[in-house]
Symmetry: D3
Subunit: 139 residues, 6 copies
């Protein structure tokens, strides 16, 4: 069966602050610059999920877009949209960088599509010029 | 010789309806939702072809953009732009999903570039938030 | 009080066919070209509403975005998204051009915001290169 | 002399919270919804300035882009980029809505171009679907 | 009859150099900065024409898009696309600023639509952050 | 450690001419068409760098965005922005095609990130419809 990738974009607006408690104020500023500003800043994030799977011979589809949308809404958008990421328990001991946000999204959505389709990649745009991708790989 | 990927985007506007004749009305609606509406709906599709090949040592190019454009115009755009996809013979027994549209475009364009360049991937954006990719792979 | 314009974009995907019953087949083709193809074609339309009004001195807002979204959903998106425009009664005797779609949207949404805010303009993008605006003006 | 409008876009990322101290918690939530979440959220704002003026007969320009950029950097971007808008003194008693942010930007930049050119309009995109314009008009 | 604005975007890629022969090298650099570099630089220009007119009661259209496209192709795109603007006779004694390019396009296209429709405005994007508009007005 | 890809976009505007000295005028035109116009044309190029690396366990980052930006500014943007590519020594004997521009950017930036992160890919958009990628591979 032919293998197709399907990608879908979702949007959410959140605030965050890059900060490591174990570092001094100076070290934090040296590491994160203005992204360490105490009261935080924010972004219009774009989350793009890529699903890989065989095209169903009858329906012509790789994944059910409606159930995917519901799961992303429940697990990610309701949780992070119009919120401060740093206040979420998952970022209690984890810098709320977009690299880490990709990893968090991957864990929340890893099983979001049903076999034989699989989640291939999570991509998050932080601004129109910055983006990050995570595909569940470790080195 | 250095290997470069070249991608080019083309635009067409078509209508379609997601529908399987072998399913009942209820089953079709359960599978495709409003995309099963009898008289169809439509999209501004973006077709992006990616070609992979060595950079020609004299001309500095991977592929001839003019002949590529002509072939895409003749084989794909003239055929599908401002048309109803479901009326095309290729979709007589095939759901006109964008997954299948990618496969159809791949078959029509597989030999569109001359060796040593090869067609690497067909990508189609259905909306600004939905896209699909096919690279000729079977599982 | 300061006057601010607020614009909000909504998305829907529909099919249509440009056709005048009173014209012959040849006249229709001469007028509309391939946009007259019998089974139609389609677009990802973007509807942008512009509201003009004074900034509320306490809330700092010109209009209530939530009630606006609900009205647009009920009056326009539910009605036209994933549908064939030509099948809608409003286009029974009216060419489903985007010029006319702007006029239809204006009539459906003219009273959508509450005084002192007013609907200033309806703008519809048919493709990324074509757009139309209507502001309720007659000549 | 011919009159031309020149528009230039600038980008900044900030957090904010829509909240009126004089309202109760319930009233704030009824007015602003999730945009009232205590720890705030954020956006990638796009500030677009439009300048109107005669084309200089020798240089062919309406305004000096370099001095404009410096002024916007000093007066707006350095102040708000990667910051929490609510912490800025200008928003101490003013809701940090994008309507009000337009008014603040107008006041900070009103004299930014030298005669005979004038600032015509301030436009701020809050998200890719929401934008606001202020042209210094009162009703 | 209802009045609608129709806007259409066209694309061309040209090079240019901002330079005034009557100024010294130092004066040119002080005025135009790196845009005065002797061998020039270039842009992907976007030309957006806005036409205003009554909606034709039978065809539902404001202007004939096909004849408009042909005129823009013949008068503007064939002339400037993939060319150096400074080599065109119209810029022999005129700085090839985008302000002036708007004025040139206006003169070339002023009569491009047939009455009762009229050309309302020429807008040119020089980059994704810079744009210019000319509507035939003098002060 | 989790492996994340980070991509960052940079913008520059340059002119160029596709031309091979060893070919006749006719051969050059047959190969490059209007892109061979003697005085050249230009583009708003977008350079997108993709860096691959492990997420630092403390800072949550893959690469230092500030030092990356400085290096790209010094090595690429200052050199090519608002310039004619053909006048740069690197294109003295090399066609200034975007394929070759990708290779040049790769060589200039190959060591731009510090281990364990690596430069994964250089991608350049020549226009909104054309893009090229180079990942340092030879065939």
């Amino acid at each position: 069966m032919p293998i197709v990738h399907f990608s879908r974009r979702y949007h959410f607006s959140s605030s965050h602050r890059l900060h490591v408690d174990a570092l001094t104020e100076e070290q934090n500023y040296a590491t994160f610059g203005k992204c360490n500003t105490p009261r935080g800043h924010g972004h219009n994030y774009v989350l793009e999920l890529t699903v890989r799977g065989p095209v169903h011979p009858e329906t012509g589809m790789v994944a059910d877009m409606v159930s995917l949308k519901q799961a992303v809404q429940e697990r990610v958008l309701t949780r992070f949209d119009l919120q401060n990421l740093n206040c979420d328990p998952v970022f209690a001991d984890l810098v709320s960088s977009t690299e880490n946000l990709c990893r968090v999204a991957w864990k929340l959505l890893d099983d979001v599509v049903t076999s034989p389709a699989v989640l291939e990649q999570v991509r998050i745009e932080e601004t129109s010029n910055n983006s990050f991708e995570y595909a569940g790989k470790e080195n």
